[in-house]
């Protein structure tokens, strides 16, 4: 007889140990069937445990989920992924130089954002997490604008009030980022409910990390989405790590995150998050399902957080350095590049030229952004801005505090 014993999720490998991804449930590219987007939830149960993949090891697109995008469209996707990466690397360096106070890269999971943005309509509303900068880039928010937010300078969209990366883009239909995890999930559901109430065909999409699925807000979102058949896509970015805790601490052992969809009563898809084509196709499927009134889909995007959690983190303290090299789903940009070369639509030299061009683009934008000031140099935001937008109209006590601050400055 055995006694109940507290289970402690077993981390596959710690520093100094050999990376071990045997726990990741894989499926060959093209192996998963693609049902009509109007199928009953029960018919997505298998899709939520398997792995939707289009690109195979050789970079060939296979199977029913191939969205059959034109090479031109794919080159745009590759460009957006690489731009996100070059931007991230540059911003991380500027943080190291002390120009900005904080940064979060999306290295290794760029496809999750840019492929989804490509598959959605521009009028659809996006509720990102802090690792979805690719959504802003894919929707064409200017790099200078993003950089000015990072610098809290005179052109900062948040008027100096927010930590770097907490962007928003109202014109581009991207919601304001919060530092509090998972809050955007039920909000996205509510936004889509409003669209349904108003009889619009716009849908919403939200993203959170797998670690954040532990938060109550994740469960609120799923329940509301199920109850009202809300036209929303709920994306769980399973990048294996939540700061130092691996996905087992969010309940990922032996059970996919996507399976929670059918568990609650909404469709679920488990998708290779490093496969641009698979992410595109899954998003397109879920969007169609939402638009024709069949309700929400929970999409788990299986990927790997290749970099540190943020510039405040040192992952060598809790995971093997070599993990990313061993990650079975590879690098999303490399895989799309390989596919394009395979199609005869791309070459190593074109790739090198593109990278050089993007470096240049980012460097130019940075110079421009810096001209609007930094926290320590150049023009500065007026500290009085601290007191506006707390309320629509400034209450008397804030007006007095603002005056006091000015008097004493």
């Amino acid at each position: 007889m055995s006694e109940p014993k507290l289970h402690v999720p077993a981390v596959p490998a710690r520093p100094g140990e050999t990376p071990d991804f045997s726990y990741v449930n894989l499926a060959p590219a093209g192996a998963v069937m693609k049902p009509d987007p109007r199928v009953p939830v029960a018919e997505t149960v298998a899709l939520a445990e398997s792995l939707i993949r289009v690109l195979d090891e050789q970079g060939k697109a296979c199977g029913p989920w191939n969205p059959k995008l034109s090479p031109d469209r794919l080159i745009v996707g590759l460009r957006e992924m690489l731009l996100t990466r070059v931007f991230d690397d540059r911003m991380q360096r500027t943080q190291r130089q002390g120009r900005i106070t904080f940064y979060i890269r999306s290295y290794g999971e760029e496809a999750v954002s840019v492929a989804a943005a490509a598959a959605l309509a521009r009028s659809d509303m996006l509720f990102p997490s802090y690792r979805n900068q690719g959504l802003f880039i894919a929707r064409g928010v200017s790099l200078v604008e993003l950089m000015c937010q990072l610098l809290s300078n005179t052109r900062d969209m948040c008027k100096g009030r927010q930590l770097p990366v907490m962007y928003h883009a109202a014109e581009e239909n991207i919601f304001s980022l919060s530092g509090n995890l998972a809050t955007q999930f039920p909000q996205a559901v509510g936004w889509s409910m409003a669209a349904a109430i108003k009889g619009e065909s716009r849908i919403a999409a939200a993203w959170i990390g797998e670690g954040s699925t532990a938060a109550a807000d994740f469960h609120h979102a799923l329940t509301f989405a199920k109850v009202y058949k809300a036209p929303v896509i709920l994306n769980v970015v399973n990048n294996q790590w939540a700061i130092s805790t691996f996905q087992g601490y969010a309940g990922g052992e032996q059970r996919s995150f996507a399976a929670r969809g059918p568990g609650v009563g909404i469709a679920g898809l488990r998708v290779d998050g490093n496969d641009y084509l698979a992410v595109y196709a899954a998003t397109q499927w879920a969007a169609e399902r939402a638009r024709c009134g069949e309700g929400a889909t929970l999409i788990e995007l299986v990927t790997y957080r290749a970099g540190a959690h943020s510039t405040s983190d040192d992952p060598t303290r809790y995971r093997p350095r070599e993990e990313f090299a061993e990650w079975p789903l590879g690098d999303p940009a490399e895989r799309l590049k390989q596919h394009l070369i395979q199609l005869g639509a791309w070459s190593e030299s074109q790739h090198a030229a593109l990278l050089a061009e993007l470096e240049e683009t980012v460097a130019t934008a940075w110079k421009q952004a810096m001209a609007y000031g930094t926290l320590s140099e150049g023009p500065k935001l007026d500290p009085k801005l601290m007191f506006s937008d707390v309320y629509k109209n400034m209450p008397e006590h804030l007006r007095l505090q603002c005056e006091q601050m000015e008097r004493e400055a």
Partner: protein
């Protein structure tokens, strides 16, 4: 005695208690293998095992709810909320459950929890890594609220909190983790090394929760404060050359009104300072209590210095933070009022 910074002192308190009392468990996000994002639980899991130092899912309501259950079932949980800014998902468990469990069950059920959480600004953390919500919790009957200002107090009070049969929310001013801070961001960061309160016994000792400390003795004015602002107030008084008595209340509830009142009766003047927003902040309770106790001794209206009533802004951190200049000015004005 060893020189410890606040991180080491807090770590030592948990180490001592995990060793002394097998019912003590530590839980929270990233607290186990990694040792916490501020390293406060460093090496504890290695020493006491993954059944006593638990990494948890990212769900503050779950952490506190589960810790209540553990507490009811005989354990003495020390839960970490990674930043005080992330305590709100646990608000219902704290306010409706933890705070009232003893009362509603006529003491049939109790949960002796300690909730540790880093608070306060001064680290360019923006609005979600800088808040000081102690007033929100001091307002709730049934929980104690503590905030130390130095390593010695931190360890002695944390041990007392863990041993306390009532729930305690233990706020750790993160700007003080590695050194005292006088509120001047231009000065190079100080270490705890030469500070008298950084001499900390390695073993067990406890301080009584609910006793204020006189952080600086003086006769001209009483400055009532806690956390990071203790250091700012001392620096401000010294810069002004004013013989101020600085009282570090160390806990909001219980509040040591006797020590405060004794001082105010002696000096006749009082300035209250905290980092949290001013409107309905803990300073309001302090001001009301002091007025009730010391009305006839007061020579001037009680002054309050606090964070402005806005969210904590990233770019304007040093305009927002009630630093040395703001405290000095207020102190000067207070001293100019004719008694």
């Amino acid at each position: 005695m060893t020189i410890m910074n606040m991180v080491q002192a807090l770590n030592s308190a948990m180490d001592v208690m995990l060793a002394r009392d097998s019912s003590v468990v530590v839980l929270g996000e990233d607290v186990g293998y990694f040792g916490g994002v501020f390293r406060v639980t460093d090496a504890l899991q290695k020493k006491y095992g993954a059944h006593r130092v638990l990494d948890t899912p990212i769900a503050e309501g779950g952490i506190v709810g589960a810790a209540i259950g553990m507490g009811v079932n005989g354990l003495r949980p020390v839960a970490e909320i990674q930043f005080a800014d992330y305590i709100y998902p646990a608000y219902d468990q704290i306010v409706s459950e933890l705070a009232r469990l003893r009362y509603r069950s006529a003491a049939a059920f109790t949960a002796p929890l300690t909730i540790r959480t880093p608070c306060g600004g001064g680290i360019r953390g923006g609005q979600t890594h800088s808040q000081s919500p102690e007033g929100v919790f001091a307002h709730v009957s049934g929980i104690k609220t503590v905030m130390p200002s130095n390593p010695y107090d931190a360890k002695g009070l944390l041990i007392a909190a863990i041993e306390d049969d009532d729930p305690v929310i233990f706020f750790e001013p993160k700007r003080l983790y590695n050194g005292p801070f006088d509120g001047d961001p231009e000065r190079p960061a100080q270490a705890w090394t030469n500070h008298p309160m950084a001499e900390v016994p390695e073993g067990y000792y406890r301080l009584e929760i609910g006793k204020a400390a006189v952080a600086r003795a003086g006769g001209a004015v009483t400055m009532v404060t806690y956390g990071t602002m203790v250091h700012v107030c001392i620096a401000a008084a010294e810069a002004e050359g004013i013989d101020a008595e600085v009282i570090d209340i160390r806990s909001m509830m219980p509040l040591d009104i006797d020590t405060i009142a004794q001082s105010v009766e002696k000096t006749g003047r009082c300035l209250i300072a905290h980092e949290a927003t001013r409107f309905a902040g803990f300073g309001a309770e302090l001001s009301a209590s002091i007025q009730e106790h010391c009305f006839w001794s007061l020579e001037a209206p009680i002054a309050r210095v606090a964070g402005w009533d806005t969210p904590y802004p990233h770019a304007f951190e040093w305009h927002y933070f009630p630093g040395k200049q703001r405290v000095r000015r207020s102190l000067r004005q207070l001293m100019q009022i004719e008694g």
